[in-house]
């Protein structure tokens, strides 16, 4: 039995290494795919992180609010701020035209006397709070007209960018309001407290009551920052592993067409033994392919100015998940090769179905942006099980324990594809 199996493995190995197109599908194409997709998606990822968004500011205020917004936006990595257009100070009209022409993604117009308007509103609120007469007769708090900041938006601007800018603006305005309110209260208290030396200082300006610290929920020893490389390398490597179905199903079809299957069926060797030869070779090839993809992420991408792939804590976890993904991909290839009637059918069935299950699996678009219904369907894609497993290892510092379940699911998928292939073979033989 071992002699037959080793002969079958040797035959498959020789067939594979002499199949130049199959080898390029297995090794060269995936490497190019990872390079191209990561470089492309690095730009998209940067946009998702919202850096250097071109903004134009028309600051008609020249007081606290205008100054604070301008300084805030200038210091913020989010924006690349301009106050001039074509060398001249930006105006409402020129800003509108520039945004419409796509020179800026957004324009912000702060009206004249905006700070003064806020100050009036806040002072009135403070006065009423401190028990002074309202400016105009009513008992309820009545404010002057609110300040209207105009946001000009290029229609191509993504919703996430708009939300980020608006959030920043609200923060600046809130800071100005608080500052004015604090000053106003200080002035009121100074009038109540005779000892001028005990007047509240401008400590507010120096204090930072709340600070924010970004900590990614990962237990990895090294600091892992989510970036295009961390997301794309495992995603496209899994995609490439499943593309093994095309050369594998092609090899099965070729055996059928060349008559080898006819001869093999007359021999005292089981179908399982012959298929096992294929599985062993293609699982190993698939694992080599995956580790080469990781090497591309670790050593080649940094040469192109991208961050290096960080593997996380668990090599054992990576090995387990890679192996079970390789089995799932190989089983899928055997199933496609068994179901298809011709090499042409196998190629089309293989490539289209992999595109479909990879899209569902979150390779192209993250599952969290999918609608609820699609997210549910996505959870049935073996590529999704594998991808989520690798995210656990590469982004969250997971261990073998964390990838046991996805590995079991992938091995279950492999066994299911083998059962289907075996059944289809029996049906096809029983003509």
């Amino acid at each position: 039995m071992f002699s037959k199996l080793s002969a079958s493995v040797k035959k498959e190995f020789l067939l594979l290494v002499r199949d130049k197109i199959g080898l390029s599908i297995l090794f060269i194409m995936p490497m190019l795919l990872i390079l191209v997709m990561t470089l492309i998606q690095d730009a998209a990822f940067s946009t998702m992180n919202e850096k250097g968004i071109p903004l134009v500011l028309v600051n008609n205020d020249k007081d606290s609010l205008g100054i604070l917004i301008q300084q805030g936006l200038e210091q913020n990595e989010l924006c690349s701020l301009s106050v001039n257009i074509d060398g001249k100070p930006a105006t409402r009209e020129s800003a509108q035209k520039a945004v419409a022409e796509g020179k800026f993604l957004m324009g912000i117009i702060i009206p004249a006397n905006a700070t003064e308007a806020i100050r009036k509103n806040v002072t009135e609120l403070v006065n009423q709070t401190m028990g002074e007469e309202p400016i105009a007769g009513g008992s309820s708090i009545k404010l002057n007209d609110s300040v209207e900041i105009t946001i000009l938006i290029d229609p191509v601007t993504k919703k996430s960018i708009l939300t980020s800018i608006m959030s920043n603006l609200r923060e600046f305005i809130s800071e100005v309001k608080t500052k004015i309110m604090f000053e106003s209260f200080a002035d009121q208290i100074a009038e109540i407290i005779p000892d001028k030396s005990k007047k509240p200082t401008r400590a507010f300006e120096r204090s930072q009551v709340i600070r924010y610290k970004e900590v990614y929920a990962s237990t990895a020893r090294e600091k892992i920052v989510p970036n295009a490389v961390q997301h794309n390398v495992p995603a496209w490597a899994i995609f490439a592993m499943f593309f093994i179905a095309i050369p594998l199903s092609g090899s099965i079809m070729k055996e059928k067409n060349e008559g080898s299957v006819f001869r093999l069926r007359t021999m005292p060797s089981s179908y399982l033994l012959l298929v096992n030869g294929k599985i062993i070779v293609y699982v190993i090839a698939s694992m080599i392919q995956f580790f080469l993809m990781l090497c591309v992420g670790m050593y080649i991408l940094p040469l192109l100015g991208l961050p290096a792939l960080v593997l996380g804590n668990s090599m054992a976890g990576i090995l387990l998940l890679t192996m079970s993904t390789a089995f799932a991909a190989t089983g899928y290839g055997v199933m496609v090769g068994t179901l298809a009637g011709t090499e042409h059918q196998a190629a089309i069935m293989g490539s289209l179905s992999i595109l479909l299950i990879s899209a569902l699996g979150g390779i192209w678009v993250p599952t969290y942006v999918m609608p609820e219904f699609m997210r549910m369907i996505s959870s049935f894609s073996p590529l999704n099980w594998s991808l989520e497993g690798f995210y656990k290892l590469f982004l969250r510092g997971g261990t073998v324990k964390d990838v046991l379940f996805p590995s079991l699911l992938l091995m279950g998928f492999f066994l299911s594809t083998m059962a289907v292939s075996s059944w289809v073979n029996r049906v096809k033989r029983n003509v």
Binding site: R18, T266, M267, P268
Partner: protein
């Protein structure tokens, strides 16, 4: 009324010693393919003796490939019984397969592998290994004039060379029964003679050969007995000379064939 020869006389072809015991017995064999309107084989019965070269002749679609495929265990019959070397094909196929050798009409070889690599793989699948396998491969490559080309991919071979490697792949394990489906189709006269001569040698060493061909002159010279099959039914059976004698006006097997089938072999 088809003539079925029942002559069980021992006879010799070359130096082969015929044995009147039957190595294959087919009884009322019928095959109806799924979705087919007519049976491909209609209740045929015949037997093949040990050490015999038995020709199954008939036009395309006559049922000969279906019959051979059933005998090789490729698919089961719809009804009927087949005994091979005393074993029931339906229940003891795994025990029967090791004694069968099959040389299909299609070149069932891996075109990117060399002749040696192909034969090494197929030999292993028949349970051969080590020195025994190596010696068999070298012997047959030498015998069939392929030693010099043995390390070249089979895809680079001529049609005749491929046929010879195809033949060796079915012979390596010295099968008791060898099925040959058009073993000389598409090859030149030289390759055909080499193949036929070696098959006669194989038969002399005790292998029963079941053979199909379009070359009726070749069949007449090569086979001890033949069956002519058409529309899934055996039309006649006997030694080539018996069949020629039984059909007045026939000078060779082709005349007998045309007389019985009323059409050309390649229709």
């Amino acid at each position: 009324m088809p003539l079925i020869a029942t002559n069980s006389t021992k006879y010799t072809a070359g130096q082969a010693i015929m044995d009147s015991t039957e190595i294959i017995t087919i009884d009322n064999l019928t095959k109806v393919f799924r979705d087919a309107t007519e049976p491909a084989v209609k209740g045929i019965s015949f037997s093949i003796r040990r050490n015999e070269i038995f020709g199954l002749l008939g036009p395309n679609g006559a049922g000969k490939t279906t019959t051979i495929s059933i005998l090789c265990g490729l698919f089961p019959p719809t009804s009927g019984q087949v005994l091979i070397d005393g074993k029931d094909l339906d229940h003891e196929l795994p025990h029967i397969k090791p004694i069968l050798g099959v040389v299909p009409q299609d070149i069932a070889l891996y075109s990117t592998l060399t002749a040696r690599e192909n034969l090494d793989f197929y030999g292993h699948m028949y349970g051969l290994k080590g020195k025994q396998l190596k010696d068999e491969i070298e012997y047959w490559l030498e015998q069939l004039g392929l030693s010099d080309a043995a390390n070249r991919p089979v895809g680079t071979y001529s049609g005749g060379m491929k046929r010879r490697v195809n033949l060796i792949a079915g012979l390596l394990h010295k099968p008791k029964i060898l099925f040959l489906d058009e073993p000389t189709v598409g090859v030149d006269v030289h390759s055909r003679n080499v193949i036929i001569d070696h098959l006669k040698e194989v038969n002399k060493s005790g292998t029963t050969i079941i053979y199909t061909s379009h070359h009726l002159d070749e069949a007449q010279d090569f086979c001890h007995r033949v069956s002519i099959i058409d529309h899934g039914t055996i039309l006649t059976q006997g030694t080539p000379q018996e069949l020629i004698n039984a059909h007045p006006g026939s000078s060779d097997l082709e005349d007998v064939f045309l007389h019985l089938t009323k059409r050309k072999l390649r229709d």
